[in-house]
């Protein structure tokens, strides 16, 4: 017999109860749906995509919830956000692949805390692209070039490896360094 859950109960307790009684999961959805959508919008910037991501995230939370065990320093909230971010990034990549004209910026390249507003027009996106280009030009050539291939020309890892005649590992390493440098340079140019 499952007792009615207190909506104020801790997340972990609600999740545990929902395995016996799925109606309890409503409380978790009500608690996290809006913040999740806001966070997902910061990545994909389309309401429909954000809603799909959030739905998928909740399904994953329920599916794999049994694997989640509260350990010191790990809370349900951080675990759930991790799932949300992974789902959102996967979706972001899909959206990017699906449409060549997608102009969303990679979340790595803009401040996640303050994403661009939803109604930014194409002009603003184009300005952002110009700004990205300007920062890339300040970077060492070999790093700026692969960042440009990847983010501005939407080339795949494989294509970039062929063009640059480097291995996949080297490319990933360079891309990582390029992103980090890009962040620092953009921060400097804002200041």
């Amino acid at each position: 017999m499952v007792l009615a859950m207190n909506p104020e109960a801790p997340d972990e307790e609600i999740l545990r109860q929902s395995f016996r009684d799925p109606s309890q999961f409503k409380f978790l959805v009500a608690r996290y749906q809006d913040p999740f959508i806001r966070k997902a919008m910061g990545i994909v910037r389309r309401q429909e995509d954000a809603e799909d991501i959030v739905q998928e995230t909740f399904v994953k939370i329920y599916k794999y919830g049994k694997n989640f065990q509260k350990r010191a320093g790990i809370e349900f909230k951080s675990w759930a956000y991790k799932i949300l971010m992974n789902t959102a990034f996967t979706r972001y990549q899909d959206v990017k692949k699906r449409s060549d004209s997608t102009e969303y910026l990679d979340p790595v390249l803009y401040d996640e805390e303050k994403p661009l507003s939803y109604d930014d027009n194409l002009g603003a996106v184009s300005d952002a692209k110009a700004a990205v280009k300007a920062v890339i030009e300040k970077m060492p050539e070999h790093l700026g070039r692969i960042l440009g291939f990847y983010y501005l020309e939407d080339k795949s890892y494989k294509d970039i490896c062929k063009l640059e005649k480097i291995s996949m590992t080297t490319l990933k390493m360079r891309l990582f360094r390029a992103k980090r440098l890009f962040k620092n340079l953009s921060a400097d140019s804002i200041q």
Partner: protein, 105 residues
């Protein structure tokens, strides 16, 4: 939200209810097959209706009498069928109750 809750309910049903019901139905079928080799249920019902003369209490009394007089293996099979049947009804009821609770406003 309903679409999401529907998915959650489906996962719960497939994980918690369906396997139980499948096992119970499998047990029920096996026991019924074993029982069919030992008694002829149609004939018992026919005899019970003749003996009871359309009186439901007499009908039940006849069946109970027949149950008590039969051999122990058949009695065990019948008890097993009733128990598994009750478990199936309980699980279906639980699924229905959870469904209503999940989707109530």
């Amino acid at each position: 939200m309903n679409k999401l809750l529907w998915k959650i309910y489906t996962i719960w049903f497939l994980r918690r209810i369906l396997p139980l019901i499948l096992i119970q139905v499998a047990v029920l079928i096996i026991v019924l097959k074993l029982l069919a080799g030992k008694i002829f249920l149609g004939k018992i019902i026919e005899n019970a209706s003749i003996a009871s003369d359309s009186n439901i209490w007499e009908f039940a009394k006849y069946l109970l009498g027949a149950f008590l007089q039969t051999n122990i293996a058949v009695q065990i099979f019948i008890m097993l069928i009733l128990s598994v049947g009750a478990l199936i009804l309980r699980d279906l009821g639980r699924a229905m109750f959870s469904y209503l609770k999940t989707f109530q406003k």
